[in-house]
Every structure is written in structure tokens, then in C-alpha cells.
Symmetry: D2
Subunit: 333 residues, 4 copies
């Protein structure tokens, strides 16, 4: 008999991707999926791509979830803390929201407002030592999508002293599913197709998480909305401290990471190659003119950037191989 899992907030895009992964997971048994306004409706009304999954959304209540061995929270930022607090201690929890990611309560209040609910174990297994911490934890705050893409590109270089932490410039473009499923006029297909648009320029809420996870001390982060449903491409530049080959530093850091692929020299990551997978593709070089290190990172924002990452964490938490039920291969073209 499988490990019993449940998903709270399963009607959104990250929730839908969780359901897809869990329905195909060989060890997890999906016992409940909850939603807010869609409670009582079939899961397939919200997610027609899951035709064949015979499940009805329950209301998002602790009693529904307490019966699971492990609960995924895919709720809007700010709603995880109260629900998690209402779950019994033995129930393991993976939070896909931001509530428990930051150690700095001030940064939380500045970007999200309200009171900080406290930090949980940070759910990015590829950081040094983190795999073991996640395996030992009962509550894990899974990484944000932009933070995954940027941290995997940058953290090893700062940790190795190969680049300066105080002058990092990131421009990262995301597919529209990263902006959520709420009906907003600026996210209509008519608006986003054929269009690139920056947003929250100069003050993005992911900055403190990225700084915490990478060790960067000065970070310019500009997000851009791109005309595609999925994918993040992060272009990360920093000032080298010496002659270290940035690609070699990354390759060494991820030698044992099954989901991080430092591509062959000359090949650059592109987002479509990661769609539907839990993989991160990386490449690095030194810019001929400026001398800055340039690292480019590609992920699926709903995969390694959200639901896939959460399942990877859950696998570790229950003692399974981290790759169980996840694909390293993208669905392309």
C-alpha cells in the first residue's frame, strides 16, 4: 500500500501539475484534492487534461487533509501558515507557497505584508547539505520558481568564491502559468501572445529568497512575462574574482544531481527542452567584452519550479529515491 498524499489548493496550475505527477507516481496514493470555489466539482472540470482521473475537489479543511501521510500546500501566498498549523505534527507537509521560505521576518513583511510565520527547512535539495536536511524534516518550504532557476545558476559560483556576491544582475523571463490562473485582463491570450513585458521592475518579492539561497549581497532582478505557457529562462551575470571556469564549477557542483544538467560546451539551455520535466539545464561562459560571467538556466516553472520540486522534496522526506515519479526528460517540441 502506498504513501497517502493530499493536495490543498489543487485547482490552480501548480496544483494541477501536482495532481498529474501524483496520479502517475508509483509509491504515492492520492487520497484528496481540495479547492476553494470549485469544491464539489470534478477535478476534470478544472483540469480537462486529467480526463480519466476520477476525483472530486473537497473543501480545503484540515480534517480532510489530516488523514494523509504527507500534504502538499499549493495555496496563494499567505494562506499556508494557518492551514499547516492546524495539521497534526506527524503529517509531513511540503509548502509550495512563500510563507515559510524566508528566515528574515522583516523581508517577509516588506514584500508580502502581514506577520511572518517562521522559516521551515528550505526545499532545494541541490544546495550543499540540503538533501539530508530535507530528508530529516517534517515541514519543508519548497523553493519559488524564479529562485530555483537563479539559485541553481549562481549559488555554486558564489560558494566557490568564483564570482563576487555584491554585483549580480539577473533578467529572467517566465511563461504565463507563473502568473497564476486568476482571470486578469493583462493575462488574456490576446494580450500575452506576441508580447514580452517586464513587471515589478526594481522591487520583486523573490529578491530576498534568492539572496538567502545564493549568498548574493547585491542583486538586480528583472522579471519578464513571455508568450508561452511554461518555462523560465534566467540570464545571470556576475563579476568573476579570478580565472575559474564557471562551467567547470557548476559541473562539479552538480555531478551527483540527477535533475541538473550542465550542457555540453557550446550548447545553451532553452526552456522548451525542460517542459514537463523536473530538470534544470545550465550553461556558462565569460563575456568577451565585459569579462562578466554569464550563466543561463532553464527550467519548467511548474516542474522544477513548483510541482516537480515539491514531489522531489516529498520523495526525500519519505525515504524514496528523489527521482521517483519524476521525469528528467522534457516533452518537446
Amino acid at each position: 500500500m502506498g504513501i497517502r498524499v493530499a493536495v490543498a489548493g489543487a485547482s490552480g496550475y501548480a496544483g494541477g501539475e501536482l495532481l498529474r505527477l501524483l496520479a502517475g507516481h508509483p509509491e504515492f496514493e492520492l487520497i484528496a484534492a481540495t479547492a476553494h470555489s470549485q469544491a464539489g466539482q470534478p477535478v476534470t472540470a478544472a483540469h480537462p487534461h486529467l480526463a480519466g482521473l476520477d476525483l472530486v475537489f473537497a473543501a480545503t479543511e484540515p480534517a480532510t487533509l489530516a488523514d494523509a501521510d504527507l500534504v502538499f500546500l499549493a495555496l496563494p501566498h499567505g494562506q499556508s501558515a494557518a492551514l499547516a498549523a492546524a495539521l497534526p505534527d506527524p503529517v509531513k507537509v511540503v509548502d509550495l507557497g512563500a510563507d515559510h521560505r524566508l528566515r528574515d521576518a522583516g523581508a517577509w513583511s516588506r514584500y508580502y505584508g502581514g506577520e511572518h510565520a517562521g522559516a521551515w527547512t528550505y526545499g532545494l535539495p541541490e544546495l550543499p547539505g540540503q538533501r539530508a536536511e530535507i530528508a530529516a524534516a517534517t515541514r519543508v518550504a519548497s523553493t519559488g520558481c524564479y529562485a530555483v532557476a537563479t539559485t541553481l545558476a549562481l549559488a555554486p559560483l558564489i560558494a566557490a568564491g568564483a564570482v563576487r556576491p555584491d554585483d549580480v544582475v539577473v533578467v529572467a523571463a517566465s511563461g504565463t502559468s507563473g502568473a497564476g490562473r486568476a482571470a486578469k485582463a493583462h493575462l488574456l491570450g490576446s494580450e500575452v501572445m506576441g508580447d514580452l513585458t517586464p513587471y515589478k521592475v526594481g522591487a520583486h518579492q523573490h529578491v530576498p529568497e534568492i539572496k538567502q539561497a545564493t549568498g548574493a549581497t547585491g542583486l538586480s532582478f528583472t522579471p519578464v512575462l513571455a508568450p508561452m505557457p511554461r518555462g523560465i529562462l534566467a540570464t545571470v551575470t556576475a563579476v568573476p574574482t579570478g580565472d575559474a571556469d564557471p562551467r567547470a564549477v557548476l559541473a562539479a557542483a552538480y555531478a551527483d544531481a540527477p535533475f541538473v544538467h550542465v550542457l555540453p560546451e557550446g550548447s545553451w539551455p532553452h526552456t522548451a527542452a525542460t517542459a514537463g520535466s523536473n530538470s534544470c539545464h545550465l550553461q556558462a561562459t565569460v563575456d568577451a567584452d565585459s569579462g562578466r560571467v554569464i550563466v543561463v538556466s532553464a527550467i519548467d516553472n511548474l516542474g522544477k519550479g513548483a510541482a516537480g520540486q515539491a514531489v522531489q522534496n516529498a520523495n526525500l522526506m519519505v525515504g524514496l529515491p528523489e527521482t521517483t515519479g519524476l521525469s528528467v526528460f522534457g516533452v518537446a517540441p
Copy 2:
């Protein structure tokens, strides 16, 4: 130890999708992937989404393939026959090309030119009796993409006598991967994005296959190229013979078909819900004004329309459950 399989013509889109499915298949062991101009190169040079698959393209030669228990042929139309003839009889073969689909040699010559190589068992398991025939066959001609979408929508209605076979009108739109991977100016992203364009109007080579598979005797088929990488949406209309509910006819026909989903009343298929899956979504109604039956069918042209269909046939041919290694769930959004 697994069943040893090989793919000939693995550098194209259908070939890449086959590799993705086979790499994740629990019973098949992928022993070789061949290509023409890319022989000797890593598979990931052609398919960056398969990063992590450590395989090099071999040249497309019978000796390379003869060692397999089952060979998939994903070659351009007209190239399968000679290669298949050079493989030992015990090697099972699934052909994704058109060479062996038609029973009518004249129709073959008219649309494809050259000499007809003879018909194999037709690889659409959802047709009545076909599942058993495929299971008993060593050579199977897997269905064409437009033919899958149209046949699943239409064949049960003609078989049940619910619609007339002599006045069928189909308009079917396909994603661009259906047009292949050869570099052609009219398939450039700049041309296809934001564009719908019909092609081969009035004389499409899939017409004889669709007529053979459905029993239609008069068929107007208009294909349209749509601005998306994957997916086929077929709108099939025909004249009813009586008062039969077309949705009920379809639901009965596919009650035991794991990959065909007749959607709940009021829900209409859309292609994105089938992307990456081996599913076909169907819905039907009777038009209020004309009285014609309208059936809409959605598939992933590379999934149920090509590679997924081929794996489903292969599963049957080697005695596995037909769903092994395939997903009923799409990757959406």
C-alpha cells in the same frame, strides 16, 4: 531483462517522441536509435529535451536493428518497405510511416507514387476486432495522425449506421510538428505564429486511409496548419440516418478503451488537454440548424497520432497491457 527495442529514423519529431516514451518505459530496453545525416552524433544534439539519455545515433542499417526484439520505423513515407524487408522475420516491426497502411495499391500510387509494398495489420486498436489482430501480428502499420483523430470520431457512427457514409465533411487543424522537422521556409516560426493556413486542399493523401478505416464513401477533408507545436483538432460532420444520439454511440464504442475519453456532456475537446498523452478526447452533438451530426476529436499528433500509438501497438504485440509506459494525462497548461 527487458524487451529489446530499436528506433530507425530517430532524429525527427516522431522519433524523438518515441525515444522519450521508450526511455521511460518499464519493460522496453532501448538498444539503438538510428539516423541518417546525424549518425555518429549524440541523441541529445538533435533532442536537447532528452538531456540525460546517453546514446549516440547509429546509421540506419538492418544489421544494427536486427538484434532487437521489436523495431520502430519512423522514416519518411516510402522508406520503410525496403528496410522492413531486410529485417529477419522474428523481429517484430511497427511502422509509423504510410508504406503499409493502404490495402488499395492504386490509392497508394495515386497519392504517394511508386510501387505499393503491400498492406500490414492496421494499427488502431480501438477499431472493432483490431486489438486481437495487432496482438497476433509481427508487422503492424501504425495509423496516420489525421486518420487517428478522424477515425476515432467517425468509425463507430458509420459502423452503427447512425450516419450516412457518403457525405462526410472534415476540417482538421494540426500543430506544426505534424509537418515534420525538415527546414522549410513556410514552416519558420515567423511564418506560422499568429497564422492559420490550409494546405493540400481538395486532395490530401490521408483521404484513402481515412476512408478505409472508417467506411466513409464520400469524404471532404481539409487540413489546416495551426500555430502550436502539437495537437490535432478534427471537426467531423455527417448526415444522421435517424435519431441515434451520436454521443451515446461513441460512449458505447469506447467503454473499454483506456485512451479514448468521451467527455461529459457540454464539454468539448481541446488539443492542449491531450499534449504529451496518448489520449483522444471526443464530444458529439446534432447541429440545431442543419441537423448534421458534429463530432469533435482532439489528440496529440505526436502521441496518439504517432509515437504513443506505436508504443500502444508494440505493447499489444509483445503481450503487455496496452497502457504500459504511456500516459492518459496531458501536460497542461
Copy 3:
């Protein structure tokens, strides 16, 4: 001094396209643009592509519009009649909505609900005799987008007796701007990119308008939403009555129509070629298998399908050449 024009309902997509065309029109002087919830805001807040147009939305009130020589109504269906009735008789009016298109009050009630406000002169100048009627009218009901695409393809064939009117099958795909600008979850970019989806299958409100305009007596019309912002591709099939060459019939019908291009033989219309223009591209053939006539029509749903058509009508109503301020050339790629 120019002819003074105003636009009611200028914050939507058709309204925005009207403003773009009117701002570049050499004879029309745009004196007012009205909106509902956005009244008081700069036009560029709703339409950033009009940066440089220094205009603020007024509220949609008769007094604001009565000062114009000609008023365009780009309001939701059902809202034009009351506003038009409140405008003085000498003010010419072009309605982009459906309120005054149908001569059959019963058909109006069946598809739109509510009381029918009466038919105005039908604003499709390419219909026989219609150019003169429009020039003489003070109130014109501009054609609906699907009706333009279908009628231009079909009306001359029925009028010439070249096809039977009682068995017409139309499948027409539209870009998302045709679905309007209201924030709806199923129109999010994440949903529509990579997707084709049919809607209102079997009972579309454009059927009575198309029948009235074309003379069709039996019409199956299936609309499909396509992943592009603009464009309609209509595939129209009908049963020929004899051996007339359908392309020749169309070419003769539109010999003097500046915006209708019957393409050279072998070239088929595609939507991107008409984007931003007021042109309709047509091609026709006889299907080799079924013998049905197939006509394909492409327009920009916001151009010839809405705002461009409305300006063409307005030009005629005030005695200008119908091409004034309109482009026959699309913006491609």
C-alpha cells in the same frame, strides 16, 4: 476641417482598433472616445499601443456623442439600440454590434434574448447593390466577424446558383481577440496558447446572420478558438449544382472590390497575411473525393471583421472613397 467622428465603447479590442484607424484617417477628426468603467482615464491606459494619442475616455452618454457627424458604436451586443435611439437623426451611426443586423425578430430573440430593436441597412458593401444602400443610409449595422468571412466566401456562389443553399458546412477558427477583452479564465494566455478549442458547437448566434446574408437555407457552423490574437480562417463547403468553376465565380463577383482578393490559383489564404488590414483573401476548388466545393476565406477579425469594415461603411456614408484611411496590406510576419 474634417468630418467629426466619435467612438462609443472604445476601451475594448474593436474600439481600440477603431481608434487606431481613425487617428490615422486623413478625413475623419476624432472628437470623442467613450468608455464605461474606464471613463476619465487616458486612452493609452487601455491601449498602450496608441502612445502619442492624447485623449481621455469620456463617459458613454448621448450628449457627448451628439456633437459628432458620425458615431461608431462598439458596445456589447444589446446595448447599441438604446444609445442609438437617443442620438439626433442627422448624426450618422455605424453599429459594430449585433443589435440591428437581423431582419428576423424571432431569430434575434432566440440567440440574443430580449426585444428586437429592428434592422438597419446591412453594412457589407461587397454584397450586390449594398454599396449604394450604405451610401444612402444614416444608420448602418456593420457585419459580424464570422459573417464577413463566411459571406464573402459563399454569397456569390449561392447567388450564381453554383452551389446548393441547403447543405453548407462551415468550420471557422478565430483569434482570441474575437472573444473580447473581459477577463475570463478560459481566455488566459496559459489556456489558449498551444490550444485549439471549439465552442458553441451546434448552436452559434451568427447562424441567422450568415443565412440572411448568404441565402443559405441549411448551415452547419462550427467556430473554433485558435492560439493567435487576430484572424479568422473560414473553411466553407457546399454541394455544387453543376460544373461552374467556383474560383471564377468569386473572381467575377469581386472584380471591382478593392478589399477582396481572390488569390492566384494554387495559393491559399492564411490569416497572418491579412492582419492589420481591411482585406479578405479567398480561394476555391472542387474536392477530388467528395465533389464538394471548398472555399477558404481569411480576414483580420478586428479589421474587415469589425473596425475596418465599420470605417469602410462610414467612408461610404459620408461620400468618401471606401478605401480612405484603410490598408489593403497586412502587417506580416
Copy 4:
């Protein structure tokens, strides 16, 4: 009678956009369009969106062009110099290629290979003093697409001493038409839709042009291919020297530039708003965390980035208002 103009290399995307603009230009008379392999074919075979333009491609020979008052060269890089040298001196020439942009012969050889043909007047009228130089010139090298977007964002800030010139980081994403019309497999619609991919990372040929035009001395420039036909979004960051408001610096610099719009505070440029226009949209801020200045710039790569820019230069060269025949308004959605 109009000014007689001709286009060499009119079968590509920039050439097609030139034809579209010239066909609608009130003062220019298009007397010839030349092409290489398509000579002898109708222009509409290459550019179906120009249906209604009755013109046949001539071969690209000096004699065909020498009859014009002004010639546009839209040829591949490296092919303009020889053709221009063969044209009589009184024929004015606007080159859309790179051959005559750089003053530094070494930089030319390094990035393009071959011998440098010498610099012409640089065709970016919005640079200080440049409008007069262009008006006086007979040979003008029109700006490259990435250089337009970056230079308009950056040059005034460096000129004003508001940012340091030695640490500029640019990430710029372009629509696929910027990659040209040659049939290449990686530019197929199947590859680019749903995908973001960086290219020429660390060594792009536009770097010397951007440095020359902006005064930057250290420049990291990373280009990205985006899934849309048109548009460039450039994110430019630099280190401020003091407290100058970057938006105010830009607004002052472009107070009299009809095509450059510094958007209202809080509004950020997006590419779709500039499609089909000759406009550049700009916005700037100071990053809260890093303190870097961030400027975002949006253009249509075929408009202000190529054909529109060329027409603007041509207008100045023949004494017309620079806006003649060009639109400040984009075609959206």
C-alpha cells in the same frame, strides 16, 4: 510626381516591411524591388500580405537601381558595399545592413570577417546632432535592431553622466523575424513556439555597434530568441553616478522625438504595443536592492529596428518630415 525609390533585397522580412511602408508612403514612388533567387516572380509570392501590390521582383543589379532617386539596401551583411559602390553618386542610399555602420575596421573584421568597406553617416536620428547629419548625407547606414533598442535606452544616460559607461549589462529578447527568413531547422515554428533560447552568448556582433553608438566602454550583451514574430525588449542596467532620475534624463532627451515615448511612471514597455509602428517605448527606475539603473526599451525589430528606421532616415535625406508615411501607433492586440 513622387520621389522614386527602389529596394534591393526585397524578398526577406525587412525587405517586405519596406515594401509595405513604401506602398503606403504618400511621397515615395516605388519603382523597383529586387531579389536574388526569386527574381522574375511576383512580389506577392514572397509576401502574400501585399496582395494588391502589382510588382515583379527584378534581379539585383546596379542598372535596375540606378534610375531611382533613393535606394534601400536590405541585403545580407557583407553584400551592401559592392552594390552601393556601383551606384552613381547622386543616388541616395540607405543601407539596412551592417557593412557601413562601424567606424572601427578592426571590430568589423573581428565580428563579420572580410575587409571593412568604411563607415557612413550613422542612421539613428534621435542621437544628438544626428538628424542634421542624416539630412545632409547621401549615404546612410541605418542602425541595427538590437542597437536601436539599446542605444535609445542608454545613450542619453551616458551622455548626461548619469551612469558609468564601464559596467553595462544588457539582456535583450527578439522576435524570430530578427533571425531572418532563411530556412533553418532551429527556427522552425515547432522549435520556437513555447521556447526561449539565448544565442551567441558572450560574443555578439552587435556589441561594437552598441558601444560606438552609446559610449559604453564595458558591455555584457546577451540576446535571446523569443516565441513571437516581431519585437525586441531590451533590459539595460548600469551603475548610477549620482542621484539623477533616469526617467527624467530620458524624457528630456526625447522631448522632441516623435517616435520615442517615455511612458508614464509605473507603465513599462511591452513589445506588442510597438508592433507595426516606428515607435520606441521606454521606462526607467533605480533598483531597490542593487541600486543599479534599469531601463527597459521596446521596439518592433522590423519597424524602428529596420524598415521603419530606414524610411525615417530616407525622409530626412530628401527633406520630408521624418514621420512621413510612418505610424507612431502599434497594431495591437
